[in-house]
Amino acid sequence: MQNLPLSDLKVLELSESVSGPYCAKLLAGFGAEVVKIENPEGGDISRCHGPFPRDIPEPEKSGLFLGLNTNKKSITLNWQTRTGYRILEKLIRQADILVENLKPGIIDYQALQELNPALIIASISYFGQDGPYHNYEGSDIAAQALGGIMKLTGLPDREPLKIAGPQAEYQSGLNAAVAIMAALHFRDETGAGQHIDVSVMECLVSILEGALLSYAYDGTLRQRDGARHPSIYPSTILPCKDGYIHIDASTDWEIFANFIQMPELLEFKPEELRQKADEIDALLTQRLAKESCEEIFHRAQEWRLPFAKVMGIEEFPSDPQFQARDFFVQIEALIYPGAPFRMSDCQPTLSRAPLLGEHNEEIYCDLLGYSRQDLVQLNGMGTV
């Protein structure tokens, strides 16, 4: 096996849905042995969420689960029984990292830390381990609402909008992975573990593009404005002949006007562009109606104008850039996104997500020393 930077580490994943799984997926990608603990009754909730082939729900075929759990092992364990908790303790003693996204208060992380002081525990929750909201019920949209993103997304005369997909959860999983790596550096130096408290809400309010300090400085409250950039105009999405194009003149208004062959635009002064956005959008829309998305995208780039195509993912397989970089990975006839970045000296490989309890024998018998008979018994008790 390839020696990767995290190959010496054992990670226990006591998490489901998106945030914890994405965090552990990143660690698994770089060699950590991730053992995912799933409840014996159906496992990770994301196994019940689609997409499914032909829309027929099947726990081993959920696209959400398959994408988020590559390179991991799965065991089933009802750790909330006495026997189950004793098994969890055994696993904790041998682990380096625990990733959990249970509701705060369900697991006693202090007790686990005492069992293994070198353990790094990352707790991901919607609102954090303490504070008045810590017991609130969360969801991706509730986090995007409280995290300030929704107020800035959508049309001004419509209800605020969430970013599509479970992005709040992905974002917190990514943050947790960074925090774990920080704690790991500390542990590599000192031998000490620690507890990491990641709140989805706090991860989101940390990426509002200066909105919070802007408010503190002079009371500025940015408004949502559809596809338009909050301060730069034009940086927006407009329809063209065969789709939608992201246009951007932020680098140079004059070059933009020349490029788009509308010298009349130069009658608008740069400082009044934002105020007259509706008027200019209308002029541009008229002009763009003759342009094909693909053609104007490349031509703008020749002028070094940061235009972009509004692409649907169905266009990705034939995208020359993705192709040239061999970004997508195929596993058993399905297409997965590849690694989020490339490293010249330790690029990971991708292998499929585990079946529910696929590694029970390996972990219970080979690692923890239970006999096959014990396993049958634990199975009968509903622990495994």
Partner: protein, 404 residues
């Protein structure tokens, strides 16, 4: 040792949002991040106020480049020097800095560092164990390698703008620089992995991060769904596939809203009980909205959230920057920190994004003023003489004031 990355030095050549988010993350966990800024294109502007920038009390002051909210929120815990890399003397100083550093972070288009003669192969010659992170729109290779884009273009090219919008609207995309934040955090993760690799093997490496790829990595279920059923995803507004009912509802007050997600029939029943109006899974969406809004419009969003949460309903008030700033939950968790910036004054700043029990971190220093750390870096760190520094200033390689 108090913070995880103490003793690690990062040279930060990055601009706009993605690279700076990466270096902010590394600075927050203890790295010494030195921002290298050109006096001609400092990215924080020159003596003239920048269009769209926000300044304390709406006053750009004499040095607007030290007073921008955008810059000062993003660059806490970092140092800044001025250095012109297009000049030979500037490159010479930069190479000296590379010798005493661990990481170089840049987000130019791929040809820029090569044109400077400072790309990874060149830097590796100077210091074999150096870790270089190159963040770009489309990656260091391929036909689009020299194409330019900001975050919003990336969201378009990654398929996210296409599905972020109302079912009946055009594609809109996120209202914040989401692609940049995602790329920046992935870059920070990559640096930490590379540092551990170096600890184990002694080897440095080059990290090639395409913003578009790092955002596409967060759309796995969309890609897999298409690969299974060959169906293009659609804009579904505020609805998510995992929810029975999910939307954003109007509350009392101007542009005040609450988001509610219902994942099961029990949750729908609870919501119906709170609003005193039974709700059934089979009811029309418009009817449901009407019944829910009849109740929510009687409350301000934070009060509505409190009542709904008491009943166990997944509800979240849609907060703006003012409401976030005064939010009792964030306040009690100590999220905000009072920071005094020498030229921008004392304000409440958003603090650390997560809490580490042993190495908590905090805002140790406000964002640096332009060229604030020239003396420390050139004299103390590199040991340049007063005469050498004067010479560099005279020929414009380093400056005290940015021109643009």
């Amino acid at each position: 040792m108090v913070l995880p990355l103490e003793g690690i030095r990062v040279l930060d050549l990055s601009q706009v949002y993605a690279g700076p988010v990466a270096s902010r993350t590394l600075a927050d966990i203890g790295a010494e991040v030195i921002r290298i800024e050109s006096s001609v294109r400092s990215t924080r502007g020159g003596p003239q106020p920048q269009p769209g920038a926000v300044y304390p009390d709406n006053d750009p002051g004499e040095k607007p480049y030290n007073r921008s909210a955008y810059y000062n929120e993003l660059h806490r815990n970092k140092l800044a020097i001025s250095l012109d890399l297009s000049r030979e003397q500037g490159k010479k100083v930069f190479r000296k800095l590379v010798r005493v550093s661990d990481v170089v972070l840049e987000n130019f288009t791929p040809r820029v560092m090569a044109n400077f003669g400072l790309d990874y192969p060149a830097l590796k010659e100077i210091k074999p164990e150096i870790i270089v992170v190159s963040i770009s729109a489309y990656g260091q290779t391929g036909p689009y390698r020299d194409y330019v884009s900001f975050g919003r273009g990336i969201e378009a090219m990654a398929g996210l703008a296409q599905i972020t919008g109302y079912p009946e609207s055009q594609p809109l995309g996120p209202g914040t620089a989401y692609a940049d934040a995602t790329g920046g955090l992935h870059a920070a993760f990559a640096v930490l992995v590379a540092l551990r690799h170096r600890r184990q093997t002694g080897k440095g490496q080059h990290i090639d991060l395409s913003l578009r790829e790092s955002l596409t990595a967060l759309m796995g279920e969309q890609l897999l769904g298409h690969s299974m059923n060959k169906r293009a995803p659609e804009r579904t507004g505020n609805h998510d596939a995992c929810a029975m009912l999910q939307d954003c509802y109007r509350c009392q007050g101007d542009d005040q809203w609450i988001a509610i997600a219902i994942h099961s029939e029990e949750e729908l029943e609870m919501l119906g009980r709170v609003i005193g109006n039974p709700l059934n899974p089979g009811d029309e969406t418009d009817k449901l909205r009407q019944r829910i809004e009849t109740w929510t419009t009687r409350y301000d969003p934070q009060e509505a959230m409190r009542i709904l949460q008491q009943a166990g309903v997944r509800a979240g008030a849609v907060l703006d920057a003012a409401q976030i700033n005064s939010n009792p939950h964030l306040r009690e968790r100590g999220f905000f920190e009072k920071v005094t910036h020498p030229e921008a004054g004392t304000h409440s700043h958003p603090g650390m994004p997560w809490k580490l029990s042993q190495t908590p971190g905090r805002i140790r220093a406000p964002a640096p003023c332009f060229a604030e750390h020239n003396d420390y870096v050139f004299r103390e760190l590199l040991g340049l003489s007063a005469k050498e520094i004067a010479e560099l200033e005279e020929n414009g390689t380093i400056a005290r004031v940015p021109r643009g």
